[in-house]
Amino acid sequence: MKKLLNTLYITSQGSYLSKDGECVVVRTEDGAKRRFPVHVLDGIVCFGNVLCSPFLLGHCGDKGLAVSFLTERGRYLAGVRGPQSGNVLLRRAQYRLADDEDGSSRLARSIIIGKAANSRAVLRRCLRDHGERVDRLAMDRALAVLDDCAGRLRRPVPLDEARGMEGQAANAYFSVFGNMILAEDQSFCFAGRNRRPPLDAVNCLLSFVYTLLAHDVRSALEAVGLDPQVGFLHRDRPGRPGLALDVMEEFRPFLADRLVLSLINRGEVRARGFVRKESGAVFMDDDTRKTVLTAWQKRKQDEALHPFLKERLPLGLAFHVQARLMARAVRGDLDGYPPFFWK
């Protein structure tokens, strides 16, 4: 089994990353110099103005480290990966399956069931813990929609219908998402999902955490040799990592959304950590970004029981396990794709 390795995040503007032997050397503008052996890392994420020496990039590619470049605010720009790993036969099988309507629908259904079930678990957990402070009626209605969606997807349905249901489930879930924000602070109210740019603090947090999740899922998929661009639920669009978005779906509710909720509810992020631009877009400041990154890294170390393998593993490794299960489902070694159910 693979070990959960650390990710190096570079947020200091004007840093320079270079290679020395087997180490990544990080020089920040204030002259500080830190070094990390490559083998303790599984990825480097650079925010904004960060330079990497070509030798470091080459070395990372060689050792299978994913290097991602994001804007200072966390929008994904580019990535550097090593030679495509895994085998061609797997990728061919993936493309064939993606072209096949029934096959895609089968996998997409599992993914949506996983997402609906996990969304449901998040809502139920909130009802259990804070039942007296939330709008019970609305929550129950959303739960009913999610149940219905998961139930109907057990039977084969055309891909378009499955995607329609995914939309309904997501709408129902996000319509009550604001209920779960219990902080007194009025600046964290949630009226619905918006992005590019996010128009309020909650959406800003969600978008940022989804980017981090996408980076991790994408590298996990690449590590088993799947093509992260060719999805089953998310159809091909230039520049969009369809399969990464597919596999992300089941993780969104309990990893990303709950992380955002607990950051807000525990008061770890404050309204003054967000900046509103003239365009109405909301961005977070450097400290808030660091808080979120720290929380994200810690969250990945939490352990959970994998429902299919019946084994306890850190959540950060679950991406790799799911990628592997996805590869098996694509190859036909498994009858279907078993999503990660969170309890």
Binding site: K3, N6, T7, L8, Y9, I10, T11, S12, S15, D20, G21, E22, C23, V26, T28, R34, R35, F36, P37, H39, V40, L41, K290, L293, T294, Q297, K298, Q301
Partner: protein
């Protein structure tokens, strides 16, 4: 697992300095320097075989000394740090720079 590597390199001959540098370099590739000639290396067993092999190739049996301390998997409980020069934990620390 964590292996603590510490060394003494004989300086009498002119090539002592070279061995010293070479040994330090090897250790840096696998771990972090916590004191001048003390390195903490978090390695998998396979990596440890490599590291050990390289060190044993680089040192001089007559003049140098190498010591390896094996602190195992749950090493976090077995290490205490006082004073300056705090080290990072490569497995669980959040690496944000």
């Amino acid at each position: 697992m964590l292996v603590l590597v510490s060394y003494d390199v004989g300086f009498a001959e002119p090539d002592g300095k070279r061995r010293l540098r070479r040994i330090a370099k090897i250790c840096e590739n696998f771990g972090q320097r916590v004191q001048y000639s003390v390195f903490e290396c978090v390695v998998e067993p396979a990596q440890w075989v490599q590291l050990r092999h390289r060190l044993l190739e680089a040192y001089d049996e007559e003049r140098d000394s190498l010591r390896f301390y094996f602190l195992g998997k749950n090493w976090q409980r077995r290490v205490e740090q006082h004073g300056s020069g705090a080290a990072y934990d490569p497995e669980t620390d959040v690496l944000i720079l």
